[in-house]
Symmetry: C2
Subunit: 352 residues, 2 copies
């Protein structure tokens, strides 16, 4: 345990009480609508947080990288979806190893990926669940048509070592009707072709309170909801007090009356703007703009603010995007009941 | 040593021959103009690279964080400038410890910082060298006037435990005359007041080939020159073949004819645009645009390109900004003479 004042800045601090409240709230929403919640661990990258999410009722977790899933399985997490096309002999060998010690599923949106998975799992006792990723309008990965869904589903269904896990999408924001119609048609096509569709998984924190508007999806994946951030405040999806993560920084210089410099730049706050102006919300002075960042400096524009920070002052910033911030630091500080504890971000920087 | 094909992607690969050529070239330029070169380690964050720079003739290194300097001192680097205002009891204690085992200097641009340094070093045998940071037009940290320079210099000069190290600036780009006039006047004012000015340090990779245009500055700090990047290509400061760092990625999906997805997003390439469009230069297809990133996906727009990538293809990206990329990964791969070796980025993520 650290004394609060002894923490060197910049430091990423998590208010545990707020995080727990956020976990409960979305779980309750999903329970009410009979939707399974499978949190995305990209936001916290901490097994301890994943365990809180599962204890609250989540069916399992979502990862993007095998390395993240390995860390979570090491910590005893049992049900893991890697929502990514896995390719390459080395990664496929790791995937097969991982599948022996947890209930693993992955996604695929093309035949090349399915063939690789089939090769890697042909000798395994337990088949690998593969969901077909569908592009329901977000324009990232995913098959483009129901015909492709059926083609790939048949390929999975007839591959020794693989089993069809259903459908998965990373949906566009605010287009529930379009997503529902896409998934409904695709699921119907699977069933019409005597193919199973045990699960339909959708996601996205911006969509979380409307997950029930896609009734075909019986699972929702959400990451940012556990911490929230400035982008979600600006989208009207949470309030400032719902933000569990903040970056504690020190004013290191006040070279002019309208400029103050903090000891956090893009190496902590990142350059993510997510369509907003400024690089974060200063809790102590919301009208002061973090106008620009270099790697280790943040430049605050005080010209529109009455605030007069002094060198040495500690302030707290709600970042634009929480998920990318936790990836920048080896440790975060968990604060609860007046105590604060340094903890390693175990799944940080797992790029493969 | 790894077999080239066995490397899992995304992977940050450094062409050592190119890095060595870049080191030599800037060193030669500085030698010709009688300017001391003090490379900024933020670009590579590797003691092995710092040693190559020193072996080539650099007088020492520049760091921004005590944690970076500690790693470099651990590796035997002797002459270190931390070009940052250091504040807070815990950091000052680390600084005093560090100063006992290397030739350390720091900067300050305000009285509060100088008072903290003086307190921390008042009982030390060896005084700490403190340079005054001057804002010569870049609008970040730094004193605003010659009068302030003289005031702070007197404060340092009369503080037990501190010694005046001279002047330091992070200059605006392309304004040599303005920077020279600022520094010349400030140095003259110090000498007029019987204060020493043993060194004047300027920097910036974009200014590197014109460092001689600020003759008052007898030291130049540059970071990016060792690897170069897309921003420097676009500024006309290097060619594509001068870029030592690239990110090796795999095409993981080709959902439509005009879109391909790579397994590198902002978690590797970062969101840094540095005024450019697109998130990096694809060496194999410079006309294809990396149009957007999410954390683990990069979306390539093929609509203006003849290139037809296939799932599983390996490609290489020159990032917009090399320095921030090395900070994203625990390891980089050093390639030379057909061999490739994985090495930890020891000074990565040192935020304090």
């Amino acid at each position: 345990m650290n004394s609060d004042q002894a923490i060197e800045t910049p430091a990423v601090v998590i208010d545990l009480a707020v995080a727990k409240k956020n976990i409960k709230r979305l779980q309750k929403h999903c329970d009410q609508h009979n939707i399974a919640l499978r949190p995305h661990i990209k936001t916290h990258k901490l097994p301890s947080m994943a365990k809180l999410q599962i204890a609250a009722g989540a069916v399992g977790i979502t990862c993007q990288k095998i390395g993240e899933a390995e860390i979570m399985a090491d910590a005893g997490i049992q049900d893991i979806l890697i929502s990514y096309n896995i390719l390459g002999a080395s990664k496929l060998a790791r995937l097969a190893n991982l599948a022996r010690r947890c209930n693993l599923s992955v996604v695929a949106d093309n035949a090349h990926v399915i063939e690789g998975l089939a090769r890697a799992f042909s000798q395994e006792d337990k088949p690998l669940k593969v969901l077909i990723e569908c592009d329901t309008g977000a324009g990232r990965c995913g098959v483009q048509s129901t015909d492709e869904v059926v083609d790939l589903a048949q390929k999975i269904h007839t591959s020794k070592g693989l089993t069809l896990g259903g459908l998965m999408t990373y949906p566009p924001m605010g287009k529930s009707q379009q997503v529902e119609s896409w998934l409904k048609e695709a699921k119907a096509a699977l069933l019409d072709n005597d193919l199973p569709c045990p699960k339909v998984s959708s996601g996205g924190t911006p969509n979380m309170w409307k997950s029930q508007e896609v009734p075909t999806a019986d699972e929702h994946r959400s990451g940012t909801y556990i911490y929230n951030d400035r982008s979600l405040i600006n989208a009207g999806l949470c309030g400032r007090d719902d933000c569990a993560l903040s970056v504690r920084v020190t004013i290191v210089s006040t070279p002019t009356a309208d400029r103050a410099i903090i000891d956090a730049g893009s190496k902590i706050l990142t350059s993510d703007l997510l369509g907003m102006e400024g690089f974060g919300l200063i809790k102590e002075a919301p009208d002061a703009q973090i106008a620009s960042l270099s790697e280790e400096h943040g430049i605050i524009d005080l010209s529109e603010s009455e605030w007069q920070p002094k060198v040495g002052d500690l302030i707290h910033i709600i970042p634009n995007h929480a998920c990318v911030v936790t990836n920048m630091v080896d440790h975060v500080y968990l604060a609860e009941n007046g105590k604060i504890e340094k903890t390693p971000v175990l799944a940080r920087g797992r790029v493969t």
